[in-house]
Amino acid sequence: MNNPSRLYRWMLLAASLVTIGYLVAAAVRENYLADWQTLQRAYRQQLQAKATDERGRELLKNFRIELKQVSVPALNTVDRCVSCHNGIDDPRMTDAPNPLRVHPGDIVKNHPVDRFGCTVCHHGQGPATNFHDAKADTNDVFWDYPLLRADLTQSSCLSCHDLERLPREQVALLREGMELYREKSCGSCHRIGGRGGSLSLALDNEGAKTRHELVMTNLQPPHTTPRWHLAHFSDPGGVIANTLMRNPTVTKRQALALTVYMLSLWQRDVPASYLSPDKIEEKARALHPAPLSGEQVYRQYCFGCHGDGTYGSWNKAFKRFIPAVRGPGLLAMATPEYLQTNIAKGRPGTQMPAWDAGGLQPAEVTAVVDYVRAAAPPPIPAGAPVARGDAKRGGVLFAQNCQGCHGMGGRAGMAPELANPTFQQAATDGFIVTTIQHGRTATAMPAFQNPAAPALTDAELGDLLAYIRSLGPQPAMQQARLERGQAGGTP
């Protein structure tokens, strides 16, 4: 029998050597070979080269190779970026190689590094002490807000500044993005500050979103929010399958501008002492916004779905007909009150939201009604009033003449929904009769009492009116619908 501990002695020797080897390797790696140490050694040479005057020699004498950080409790940040960016606030370091050189431009004059830190504007992982982790823009680093590319950084300005008071050239992309948001009528579906449509998400805090809150399925890594926005503005359907969002047809620069604007939408909790005075004024102004003109309202909140409103169109995504709200056919008959009610109350059950809840002031609704009616043809004189006839006979007529487009029971189809409660409420009998008699110019709705070949008699018109009126919400029917809804478990 061999010595029973022989094997163990060799094991002990081998394991001990491995242990010592790795301990030494780790100590060297962590304490001597870190990038920031190499960079600080290089920076000391820069300091030596520039130590020509009293102050320069003083700076050199005081320089220690150590981790450096800017801690800003008010902003809840600890930024160690200065461990590598050593010369960030030394104006002599204009010719030093990156990352040792001074911050470009004169921004750090007004934003001293020791008061603001770095990540409040640039994002990225402040606590990190190597570039890979600090950038945090790859999928293997877990940090909510990766470093912003230089051209995206202006999105941070809005946290403390009023856009209008910033130097134009420094926030060009941001301004362009905000204007594009209005021009592309994003507000038709999206809401910011309580103003806008309700068809899609509110964007008040869009910039605060992390990559985990966005659908990255169809995006190549790395998955960052700016990359998502860029891809999404270029092709929404390519990023989110079956999205309702139309392709905004933008250039690359425009997509970038919109991305900057999205990133700037961040309800950040910044201490008042960090806000510029104009930001405080802007916030106060935002509580009582000046009403927009009718044209502005139409462009920002209606254009997205109705286009310029001259022609109606079939929307595939909505599976619904979008009416020509500025078409001569409608305007020849619709009263301002009719339009006002439709805009303010919306069309429940369709994609048309109620704009009084969408943040439009009453004056703005009036203004947009005036704008829509600006090109109205002379109103068609109302004919002799037609009395409501027999709804049963009307139903037969409806099936023969109307159902093909307006759908069974007047709900859903290619043409507007006649059973809609807002329509039933806003439309007078005279409006319905006149529409049937004269049709709608420039739409598929024909005139049913063309003087040359009247299709319907006045009595039939009365029957039809009675039937259409019966489609509206009846108290009993509403009750039944409510109960059905509850039984089905939907609120």
Binding site: M1, N2, N3, P4, S5, L7, Y8, R9, M11, L12, A15, S16, V18, T19, Y22, L23, A25, A26, A27, E30, N31, L67, V78, R80, P127, A128, T129, D133, F142, W143, D144, T210, H212, E213, L214, V215, M216, T217, L219, P221, H223
Partner: protein
């Protein structure tokens, strides 16, 4: 002739290096004879837990693989690195995550220390688990070691508890959502009480969850509870239990081994070694009465060697190998740290630590059965083994009794077939809820893939027991099935479960959120 006091003082001062050295190293030199070796063992507080002599089988690497020692070594490493981490860690939701970031980026070699802590925790769980399997398959739990088997089970549970409580401390997304799952498992008796409609009056689930978290959600109170458990309560319990565990090994006669045949004095290295030479100047008395059928006066116990230095070499070797493995892993692979915990953004999939993933797979069928019933049944079953299998024989030998290897191999095949089959069936065809959407939850609690698995395994074990007419073989069948299903379920849940606990062939196919 007495020295004068000043002389004596100066003289003592001069002698100081020698006297201090003698006080520390009382022997003065390395032990040379076996008598001195035995003194070295039992005159030292730390070494006297060893017996003076150990059986050579104890030192065989192929009997134990050093697994128990490895677990102890991991615990020592964890204690040392844990104390270092405690210096920097701040157990509050506002500061915990930042302090881990500081440990990672600023504390000198802090990242390395945290990595070692993480990897040693993995090593400890693995070692404890394999150690249990070793003890089972060598039949080492048998009389008189039943009690130590129970202590071992308690240690297994405490080890998992330590690892689990440590999971929350970094306060990142991984921690937050894993503990959210864990606390919902504690809450899962509600699945039963809700199904019976008695939650209003009797709510053990809610009580358990509240006990664990100190609130209805994972927050400050939960963090401090987990911290106290992790750094104080559980380590203390573990140290006490480990001490008892070691002490029982001594009291139960060392590691389990087959009876030695009567033999002569120990021989190794080709030479006959006198094992015990009485010292001429000393009288010897009867010190103890020991169990056994023969006296070994003036003749060494057969096949034993001195603990000093043989056992010490072995222990140090296992310890250093464990350290080396932990260091190598820690050098190359960082401990995970995700984004700051955010209750608004669930991790998807939120996965428990790997050793709980098998259970999480069962939890996905029924939280109550997978998270409470089956673990309890398994623990109960394991605890009962030494009391139901009382047939002696084969202790200390891998697959020591006749037919064990065959039964283990067959059960391995059966367990694999059933576990894989059950998973494949569930993935392809769904389960009761998919077929009868409005079925009462009690049905799901009673019949789900987890409970079916347990019933099939129990049936198989009883069949083996009846066919072979051996309780031991029945136990081998059940234990093998348990091991294999643990491995299969853990693998399956780690690799093939993605967002929303959907099946995917590879993680690379997961839709990214």
């Amino acid at each position: 002739m007495a020295m004068s006091a000043p002389r004596e003082f100066v003289d003592n001062l001069r002698q100081l290096p020698h006297t201090v050295k003698d006080a520390w190293f009382r022997q003065g030199r390395l032990p040379e004879s076996e008598r001195e070796e035995s003194q070295a063992t039992f005159h030292n507080f730390f070494l006297h837990i060893h017996s003076v002599r150990v059986h050579v089988r104890t030192l065989s690497p192929w009997l134990t693989f050093g697994l128990g020692l490895m677990a102890t070594a991991s615990f020592l490493i964890l204690t040392i690195t844990g104390v270092l981490l405690m210096v920097y860690y701040k157990p509050s939701t506002a500061l915990a995550y930042e302090s881990i970031k500081d440990i990672h980026f600023v504390v000198s070699t802090g990242r390395f220390i945290r990595n070692i802590h993480r990897w040693s925790a993995h090593l400890m769980v693995v070692a404890v688990f394999l150690h249990m399997a070793r003890v089972f398959f060598t039949g080492s739990y048998k009389q008189p070691r039943e009690f130590n088997w129970l202590i071992g089970l308690a240690l297994f549970a405490v080890t998992l508890g330590l690892s689990f409580t440590g999971y929350l401390l970094p306060w990142d997304q991984l921690a937050y959502w894993a503990i959210t799952i864990g606390s919902n498992i504690a809450n899962s008796p509600r699945e039963l009480t809700d199904a019976l409609g008695i939650t209003k009056w009797l709510d053990p689930g809610g009580f358990q969850k509240h006990l664990l978290l100190g609130a209805n959600y994972v927050g400050e109170d939960a963090l401090i509870r987990f911290y106290v458990l992790h750094v104080f309560v559980l380590p203390l319990v573990l140290v006490i239990l480990v001490s008892v565990h070691f002490w029982r090994i001594r009291k139960d006669g060392g590691l389990a081994r087959p009876e030695d045949p009567m033999g002569g004095p120990a021989e190794w290295g080709g030479a006959r070694r006198p094992v015990f030479e009485p010292l001429a100047t000393k009288t010897y008395g009867l010190m103890a009465l020991v169990k056994g059928t023969r006296a070994t006066v003036n003749r060494g116990p057969e096949n034993t060697v001195m603990s000093w230095p043989n056992l010490l070499w072995a222990e140090m070797a296992v310890f250093m190998v464990t350290v080396a493995v932990a260091l190598i892993l820690s050098y190359y692979f960082d401990a995970p740290l995700k984004e700051l915990a955010n209750p608004a953004i669930p991790e998807n999939p939120a996965k428990a630590p790997w050793y709980f993933l098998g259970l999480q797979e069962l939890v996905s069928y029924s939280a109550f059965v997978g998270g409470m019933v089956i673990p309890l049944v398994v623990l109960m079953g394991l605890a009962l083994i030494p009391f139901l299998d009382r047939q002696l024989g084969g202790e200390g030998v891998w697959f020591g009794t006749a037919g064990e290897k065959r039964v283990a191999a067959l059960s391995c095949g059966f367990g694999l077939l059933v576990a894989v089959g059950m998973l494949a069936f569930t993935v392809n065809f769904g389960w009761l809820r998919n077929w009868f959407p409005s079925i009462h939850q009690l049905w799901i609690i009673a019949i789900n893939p987890g409970s079916v698995l347990v019933v099939l395994y129990a049936g198989w074990s009883l069949l083996v027991l009846k066919q072979t007419n051996s309780v031991r073989l029945g136990a081998v069948a059940l234990f093998t099935c348990f091991l294999i299903s643990f491995c299969v379920l853990t693998y399956f849940a780690s690799v093939h479960r993605g967002p929303n606990w959907q099946f995917y062939w590879w993680p690379s196919q997961w839709p990214v959120h």
